[in-house]
Amino acid sequence: MTYIVLFYTNSSALKFAKFIQRFNYPGELIPLPRKLTSSCGMGVKFDFTKSLTEIISEEIEKIYAVEGNQYQLVYRAKE
């Protein structure tokens, strides 16, 4: 499954991009689609087959699953 991860800060996105690189999960930093956020930040798009609970941290705001042109919200941090 391909996911797009949104973070509270750009630093967290950079850190996460390094993390997926280290574990060889295919993916990269991307400019976030405008429909997902009104901020002009960066996110990480990556392929992942394991359970999302393995990567959830307090730095993650939202995770969308990418299905074709559609984005499905699969995780949102509690306020």
Binding site: T9, N10, S11, K18, C40, M42
Partner: protein, 381 residues
């Protein structure tokens, strides 16, 4: 540069190998901003900036890369921390060996009602830590201290100061302008809350890049001095509260950060202890020989005591400025004469207002360099 440069305490030269190439490489091949446009070059630059924060974390044992804030130099860093934290009625303590980068912001804050106490050091620049404890009051908020004097090379007992601050719940803010890249500095072991550094001295990077680290507790209390665009949370007119964006409005000095990244790589490969050992061997040779020359007063710690790569001399039978000028004119030796932006330190050492001539070495210097200076002094003074 023609001549023998011995003013490394002001700014280091030469820089680390690879620094000039890294700066030029950024300007030639990358050139774009970070956190704004979202294209490959921008991500590359963002990664280097983040990696530089990580390298600073390894160097100083800072726990969180995002709490590393870039500024143009340590003076700006100290201004942000001091002016952002201290309010009228707060009391702060410093040593009598501080640089004007600490004293001037505090003097201006004192006019606005911040109380300032100075712990008097002895005439070698050494801090009586016990006296520091006596200055603590109910409204004491912070201790701000240099890690080593830029005039005498005296190293401050920061472990003890940090312990005292911890016991009394005071913020401990360190100015490591003269020790970064020379002494092993462990932010956590020192019980520090903030540490200000500059890139262009012992860290061997370019001018125009410096920074500071502060822990989360202090970060929430320090008001930013500069606010503006961060490329994040752009739907709001309010400055983001998270780090580093809270303190990094406006475009960063990216050429400077690329240069600093290269110099940090070099420092990590060489190792701080090796650099220190080399520099101290030069300083020891210089001091041993200077002591055989008449009419020259050596300032600062006893020759056998620990110190940085700085030696301040006072020429008893000559005007220090004239000696410094002649050293350059006749021998090409570049030193720094005067008060070194630290009038309080010179008052403590007993060299105010005549000042001293400061010889500050780099580990790139050689024994031949030292001998050349000694021979020049011996034949003329």
């Amino acid at each position: 540069m023609n001549g023998l440069y011995l003013d490394n305490a002001a700014t280091s030269f030469p820089k680390a190998p690879g620094v000039a190439e890294a700066v030029a490489g950024f300007l030639t091949n990358i050139g774009c901003n970070i956190n704004r446009g979202l294209y490959t070059a921008s991500f590359d630059a963002a990664n280097i900036v983040y990696e530089t924060r990580e390298r600073l974390c390894s160097l100083f044992n800072f726990p969180k890369p995002e709490n590393v804030i870039f500024t143009k130099n340590i003076t700006e860093s100290l201004n942000v921390i001091l002016k952002g934290l201290l309010k009228p009625g707060d009391h702060v303590i410093v040593s009598s060996m501080e640089h004007n980068a600490v004293m001037r912001p505090l003097a201006s804050l004192a006019e606005k009602g911040v109380e300032l106490s100075t712990v008097l050091c002895n005439n070698k620049g050494e801090l009586p830590t016990g006296d520091l404890g006596l200055q603590i009051k109910s409204n004491t908020r912070a201790v701000i201290m240099t890690h080593a004097s830029n005039v005498s090379g005296t190293i401050m007992p920061l472990e003890e100061v940090g312990q005292l601050c911890k016991e009394h719940n005071l913020f401990f803010i360190i100015d490591c302008a003269q020790t970064a890249g020379f002494l092993t500095i462990d932010f956590l072991a020192l019980n520090a809350d903030a540490l200000a550094f500059t890139g262009h001295k012992g860290l061997l990077g370019p001018q125009g890049i410096g920074g500071f680290y502060l822990n989360d507790k202090l970060a929430s209390l320090v008001e930013p001095l500069i606010e503006g665009g961060t490329g994040s949370a752009s739907d709001s007119v309010l400055q983001p509260s998270y780090l580093p964006d809270r303190f990094e409005a406006g475009t960063l000095n990216l050429p400077g950060i690329y240069g600093l990244n290269a110099s940090l790589k070099y420092l990590s490969a060489e190792g701080i202890p090796a650099i220190r050992e080399k520099e101290l061997s030069l300083v020891q040779r210089f001091i041993e020989n200077v002591q055989t020359l008449p009419g020259i007063q050596l300032l600062g710690p006893d020759p056998k005591q620990d110190r940085t790569g700085i030696v301040s001399l006072n020429f008893l039978n000559h005007d220090n400025a004239e000696v410094s000028y002649q050293l350059f004119k006749d021998f090409g030796i570049m030193t720094r004469c005067g008060l070194h932006c630290a009038p309080a330190a010179h008052q403590t050492l007993g060299t105010f207002p005549q000042g001293t001539i400061r010889f500050s070495f780099s580990h790139f210097n050689t024994f031949q360099d030292v001998d050349y200076v000694i021979n020049s002094l011996r034949s003329n003074y």
